[in-house]
Symmetry: C2
Subunit: 389 residues, 2 copies
Amino acid sequence: MNDFTFQCSTKIVFGRGAERCVGEETARFSKNILLHYGGGSIKRSGLYDRVMASLAGQGIHVTELGGVEPNPRLDLVYRGIELCREKNIDFILAVGGGSVIDSAKAIALGVKYPGDVWELFAETGTVGEVLPTGNILTIPASGTEAGNGTVVKNMALGLKRNVNDQKLRPQFTILNPELTLSLSPLQTACGVSDMLSHVLERYFAPEKNVEYTDRLCEATMKTIIHNGLRAVRDPGDCNARAELMWCGTVAHNDFLQTGRTPDFASHKIDHEVNAVCDCTHGASIAVLFLAWCRYVYTKHIDKFAQFAVRVFDAEMNFENPAETAREGIARLERFYHDLGLSTRLRDLGVEKSDFATIAKNCKTFAGDKVGNLEKISRDDMLDILEIAY
Amino acid sequence: MNDFTFQCSTKIVFGRGAERCVGEETARFSKNILLHYGGGSIKRSGLYDRVMASLAGQGIHVTELGGVEPNPRLDLVYRGIELCREKNIDFILAVGGGSVIDSAKAIALGVKYPGDVWELFAETGTVGEVLPTGNILTIPASGTEAGNGTVVKNMALGLKRNVNDQKLRPQFTILNPELTLSLSPLQTACGVSDMLSHVLERYFAPEKNVEYTDRLCEATMKTIIHNGLRAVRDPGDCNARAELMWCGTVAHNDFLQTGRTPDFASHKIDHEVNAVCDCTHGASIAVLFLAWCRYVYTKHIDKFAQFAVRVFDAEMNFENPAETAREGIARLERFYHDLGLSTRLRDLGVEKSDFATIAKNCKTFAGDKVGNLEKISRDDMLDILEIAY
């Protein structure tokens, strides 16, 4: 186990009708806020009206900025920053899925930053003062609602980049599983794949002697898998929705990586796949993670066998652990299929001719590689993309 | 699953030599602190010197108050409150086990409270402003290092009482597993039993549809059981010590009770057992929890069978689930024996003649009962104490 520091101070307000306390939670921080959201779904569902009523009940002045798209765009972030500066706004409330929350966090990063906020994503600038944010989550998936990161897409450069900083953790997140009952099976499946990927990336860490966090990851994955299938088969199952919603938040608030180094190679490659094809992260990360498994598992038979046995209840083949390891990967693929997801890049609109761009743009670290369980070079990426195709 | 609010903002600083950052962490809050500790063990071990050096390095003025005893006494809390008022101290640093931290929290409750701090424990007063605290943990057991509660013993009244309030959560806890290598097998066993009891009390909740938290509890219990035995058999096993230390903190920070109502009947009875016999909480809670299991399991065969199968790897007897339920309780008892703990009240110095006092003093709730899985009356308590004897 590695030494670590962990602090997740985001207040979790979980339950039916929880959005009705948004005025009260927001008023602790500000009476002059930016309300940030996506398309019109929160208006059609009536959520918008309930939120506005709760904010009005606390006398909070609201400036609105809608229009966040999936894989949130830097352009809208710039507009949000300008709006906040213009109106002296000091708190941002995001109502929506992970893209809306990430966009809100990117705005929060930029308002007090003297330069171009993209510098923080390009790592040529340093995070300073960050506005506080809060959120009402409508799509359990990205875990950003209590996470320390944000990801945005720079259309001009064709790049998707993230910033991680403790100051980005939201002050509160309001989690009402009833708000997720209207998600389609495909939206649900992509959310399930997204949250599962956050645990998978942390599970396949290089450290030994991490029994507790291994078991916590396994508990989380088993629950996501079981309830993911329930929710896809019966979208109105509120018990399954509630389990998923709480799992999705814990999956990415860093609790599950205490004492260990997450891998995240597949995420780094996937960022560039998303930049090329604009498909949903949950759909493409399933494809890439599976391909990564097939590329690296022979060097980590024990861990992949543990995954098969403890997460997918496979029987351990003591004479041939590699077979057990492969069985775990096969069951993961079957799970994605059962969710209704493809496990081939070709189905997502990615062409082989994109591979070179993806590998070239991928943000690598020291030694020009990504990942921790195995160090993945740009050549490895091309091989993984081939497997994924 | 129940609706819930959860926020644990305590910063966790975990690792070898982590106490060396205590000056830095403390200086964020105050330069004029009370340093609270127990007997001389932190001086003999050298920890005291390292702490004082780190605090001095940040120019922090330190007033000392040692002498905390197990089952911390109200009298010393009064002295601490007087000291803080006299010297305008606004931060309390506890260095020691759960009793030291609880005593520090009780002082923190009392400094700004206009009346007698015992009123807060007797629930005749309301918690107001609470001083911030931080701690360096030396005995993983009570979980109070990141918890929202404190327990003290009023010797004059022969009562042990608790206060729970979000404001009691420490600002930081420093967890260095190397500091626990010198704990004896018996101290270790009592700590293991204590932390396990916190999970057990949360696990046996009345709610259905709590799959995620059930699995998280099971992950925590399996890790405590496995590493508890390792640490008792080989006190120098730092990997086992590290697993236990992190488990002990999570076991009682309320994360494992999100969406569910913990039982805590056994704890309520045990408070009064401790008031009568002054034995270690970890030793007596093992005895009481086992007796409680035997008293209630027939009404909750499914949950006790799940416990047996998932926590102790018992084989499910589908024809006779009650047998599986009993097997789980038997394995829990065997585990306590393997730790070196007794599972009989008579071995702890409790007499049958004490039973009436214990049941009479036990702090009950509405309907004069304790517990949530089953409502335990004072008559039930006498039966449980008989089973435990």
